[in-house]
């Protein structure tokens, strides 16, 4: 009896060993980069983590197709290295000797990649299933490109400033024209006599107020010395 048990056990182990080995059919290599992802909060990869992994894969297979009744024992891990990398294979729950086709496993994992990543606090880059490429997230594009909004703001400011300056210039010119037409009218009536005191028109001097007449400041070269 014991011998029969031993024999079946060794057969099963050998069968398992044959199913799960590097580059076996329907086997996938997994690579984790825990320290890169988590830094100081990195956890150690031990048997418990392996158990979690098997559980996640089993869960994934169940979710993928309601027909399957994959058990944790159906997921076989082998060749675990220090890197942390290993190979895994999923055996058929009904017949323990064959493996689920790789395409099914791939589709299942792709469908639930997010859940698997989150269970290990990793991402697509740090929990790699070699041979299973991840679908890329579409870029987020706002309805109006941001640059157009900024550009619109800048352009409005510029146009407003130009309009302001042009209008100010026109108004200034109108004022000047009005002044010069007034002066012209005066000149037509008679000659403008300007009272000059040593080259300065008297208009600029304030003769009524009794303060110092700046005209007589000593250092102006216009004046001849007495």
């Amino acid at each position: 009896m014991l011998q029969v048990l031993l024999l079946t056990f060794s057969v099963v182990t050998v069968a398992h060993a044959e199913l799960c080995k590097p580059d076996a059919q329907n086997a996938f290599k997994v690579r984790l980069s825990i320290k890169t992802a988590l830094g100081d909060n990195a956890y150690a990869w031990d048997a418990n983590e392996e158990y979690l992994f098997k559980a996640m894969v089993a869960f994934t297979m169940r979710r993928y197709s309601t027909k399957t009744t994959t058990q944790i024992s159906n997921v076989l891990l082998c060749n675990v290295t220090d890197r942390v990398s290993f190979w895994f294979v999923v055996t058929d729950s009904s017949k323990n000797t064959t493996t689920v086709p790789g395409s099914e496993v791939e589709a299942a994992i792709r469908m639930n990649r997010n859940r698997i990543n989150n269970a290990f606090l990793l991402s697509d880059k740090t929990l790699q299933f070699l041979k299973i490429s991840s679908t890329l997230a579409p870029p987020v594009e706002p309805s109006t490109p941001v640059w157009l909004i900024v550009f619109g703001v800048v352009l409005c400011l510029i146009v407003a400033a130009i309009v302001f300056l042009v209008v100010a210039g026109i108004q200034q010119r109108k004022k000047k024209n009005k002044e010069s037409t007034e002066r012209e009218n005066l000149e037509e009536k008679g000659e403008v006599t300007i009272t000059i005191e040593n080259g300065i028109p008297c208009e600029t001097l304030d003769l009524k107020a009794g303060h110092i007449n700046g005209v007589f400041s000593a250092d102006d070269e216009r004046f001849t010395s007495l």
Binding site: R83, L136, W147, T195, S217
Partner: protein, 624 residues
């Protein structure tokens, strides 16, 4: 008290010989500095320092500054201040035969304004794109069926893709013009609107705008300096830049580059400096101004190269670390070693160990050799520095949006203040020509100039536009300036006669012209200009002109493809270089013919020769 009728012009205040003036001296100096300090100070000088032996380049640079830059600058400022006219009228006043010099510099200002503002268009485009997170040049877009990244982007880099495809949408050949890129047209319109806004009334408005556009770049450079010095790898970049290699001084190419850099950096022979100084009161110390502007320009170049090279050092170091990290990951994955067992520090030890034990595996990995020197050696100048290299470095900094915005506003201010000088060089002579009636308001004239320039510059927004800008930069913005400057010096020293000019300068500054100016104006500067011109032309002729094109279908992509210019493009290059220069002999010939014709007329009197002092005799001087 006398009662007399005084003719208008005698009692008019200093402003009303019709000529506007600067609000204060500081505005004038700032405008000159703003004109001289431009994009080249940031993206050409550091590159030259780097490829020409670092600190050793400063020796030919300062020699060129002393013997070529400062004398020519003083000459232009003194000329404008004395004659109080823009370039065309000023040269016509010096001698009717030299009118062509003014026309030539006016022509160059026109050509340069056209393409320079398009460079500002690119800066503005990057600026408005800097408000996004993530920055658009940091990620590659997906390809059409969303299975992977866009192929052109993947093979080159995201930064290259954004520049060549999303900004320029460049064609692989200059002969293929492509279509107008609407986003560039919009930005070009905005840029010309800004230029119009600032130059709407000539120096009245540019004088106010220059306070911002000339001072702001220094603030940003200081901020970048402080930040740059804190980045890892900054010291490597700075050491690389400034380590002098005195052997380069034996190479004549270095001296040529120093002379041309000083010449183009000071924006000589554009006519803009003459225009600026023509708005000065005549009794102004132009000698001190010239020395100040030239020294500030050179110091700015030096000051700008420090943050530029800190950032480049940072980029090189990051690139080197990335290279190492990629190799380390490959090795760890291949040998299934634990993570972080190989670090950058012990990488070389590991490599030697693994190479001795498993040479075939290592060879199979095809590891790239990572060499920091190689990363530092990737030197770029010009638009490549700003739009490819620097933008890549900015992505690596935390808070990249803020740095990008600051950087592009700084570039925009630098370019805008130079544009003011270019536009003044176009605007002022036009105001003085008799073809423009006096009743046209200044706003309308500047509006017309900006509108016409915008329409012509639309051809730079075609897909092949950047190739054309390179052509304009190489041919219109280089050779004619040397020719015009040479004729400027010769004209003043030998036609107007230096003795008369010395008297004028003495009257303006109050000091006699010292020996340094006499020697440099008479002999050294013209000689240097001839040597530089000859060397320049020789170098251009030696190899047929080629350009590098961005061709995704090229076998060496992403390396750019070197192509030769087709003959019709070469003809345009020659035209651009020759057109401004041709006016000098043409106008002289025309005047000669006119004189010989007129001298047959008995009532003809030869025009009087004048000097600055007579022009300014009626000028009433403001109280000091």
């Amino acid at each position: 008290m006398d009662r007399i009728l005084i003719p208008e012009h005698m009692w008019s205040s200093p402003k009303e010989d019709g000529r506007p003036k600067w609000d204060n001296k500081f505005q004038y100096i700032l405008s000159c500095i703003g004109f001289a300090v431009g994009l080249g100070n940031v993206w050409r000088f550091p590159y030259l320092c780097q490829i020409h032996g670092g600190g050793a380049f400063l020796i030919p640079y300062f020699i060129a500054l002393i013997f070529e830059g400062i004398p020519l600058l003083h000459l232009e400022l003194a000329l404008g201040q004395c004659l109080r006219k823009g370039s065309i009228s000023a040269w016509r006043a010096i001698s009717p035969y030299l009118g062509g010099v003014g026309v030539g510099s006016w022509m160059v200002s026109v050509l340069v304004s056209l393409y320079y503002n398009t460079v500002l268009t690119w800066v503005m485009w990057y600026f408005v794109n800097s408000f996004q997170d993530p920055l658009p040049w940091s990620v590659c877009p997906l390809n059409e069926n969303r299975t992977g990244l866009n192929e052109e982007c993947y093979e080159s880099t995201a930064v290259n893709y954004f520049w060549y495809r999303k900004t320029l949408n460049i064609t692989p050949d200059i002969a293929e013009s492509g279509t107008l890129q609407w986003w560039l047209v919009l930005c070009l319109a905005a840029c010309w609107a800004i230029v119009y806004l600032c130059t709407i009334r000539g120096i009245e408005t540019t004088g106010k705008a220059i306070y911002v556009t000339a001072i702001f770049p220094y603030l940003v450079l200081t901020i970048f300096l402080i930040h740059g010095l804190t980045l890892p790898g900054a010291t490597e970049g700075l050491a690389y830049l400034f380590t002098p290699d005195l052997n380069v001084l034996k190479n004549p190419r270095v001296w040529l580059d120093a002379a041309t850099q000083i010449f183009f950096s000071l924006s000589l022979a554009f006519g803009g400096l003459i225009a600026f100084s023509s708005y000065n009161p005549p009794k102004n110390d132009c000698e001190k101004d010239a020395v100040t502007v030239a020294i500030v320009n050179s110091l700015t170049s030096l000051y700008a190269s420090i943050p530029v090279f800190s950032v480049l050092g940072f980029k090189a170091t990051t690139g080197y670390w990335d290279c190492l990290d990629r190799n380390i990951i490959s090795i760890i994955n291949e040998f299934d070693l634990p993570e972080q067992s190989i670090m950058r520090q012990n990488y070389t030890d590991w490599i030697t160990f693994l190479n001795s034990s498993y040479p075939e595996k290592i060879a199979g990995l095809k590891l790239k050799s990572c060499d920091l020197q190689e990363f530092l050696d990737q030197s770029v100048s010009g638009s490549g520095l700003a739009f490819i290299v620097f933008t890549q470095a900015i992505i690596l900094m935390p808070g990249s949006q803020a740095w990008a915005i600051l950087f592009f506003i700084m570039l925009f201010s630098l370019g805008l203040s130079s544009m003011f000088g270019n536009i003044e060089g176009v605007f002022t002579p036009l105001l003085e020509l008799q073809i423009i009636s006096k009743s046209i308001p200044k706003e309308l004239l500047s509006g017309i100039i900006c509108l016409v320039s915008f329409l012509i510059a639309l051809c730079f927004t075609l897909s092949s536009g950047s190739y054309w800008i390179d052509i304009f930069d190489r041919y219109a913005g280089s050779l004619p300036l040397l020719v015009i400057a040479f004729f400027e010096v010769i004209g003043v020293v030998y036609v107007y006669k230096i003795k008369r000019f010395s008297e004028d300068v003495k009257w303006m500054t109050g000091r006699k012209l010292n020996l340094y100016w006499q020697i440099t104006w008479r002999f050294i500067s013209p000689l240097l200009l001839v040597i530089v011109f000859v060397a320049f032309v020789t170098l251009q002729i030696q190899k047929p002109p080629t350009y590098t094109a961005w061709n995704p279908k090229h076998e060496d992509f992403p390396v750019k493809e070197e192509k030769a210019y087709p003959p019709w493009v070469q003809a345009i290059c020659v035209l651009l270089a020759v057109l401004p220069c041709i006016f000098v002999p043409l106008v002289a010939l025309f005047q000669l013919v006119k004189r010989t014709w007129r001298s047959k007329d008995p009532s003809f009197l030869p025009p009087e020769v004048f000097s600055c002092q007579e022009v300014n005799r009626n000028f009433s001087h403001p109280k000091k």
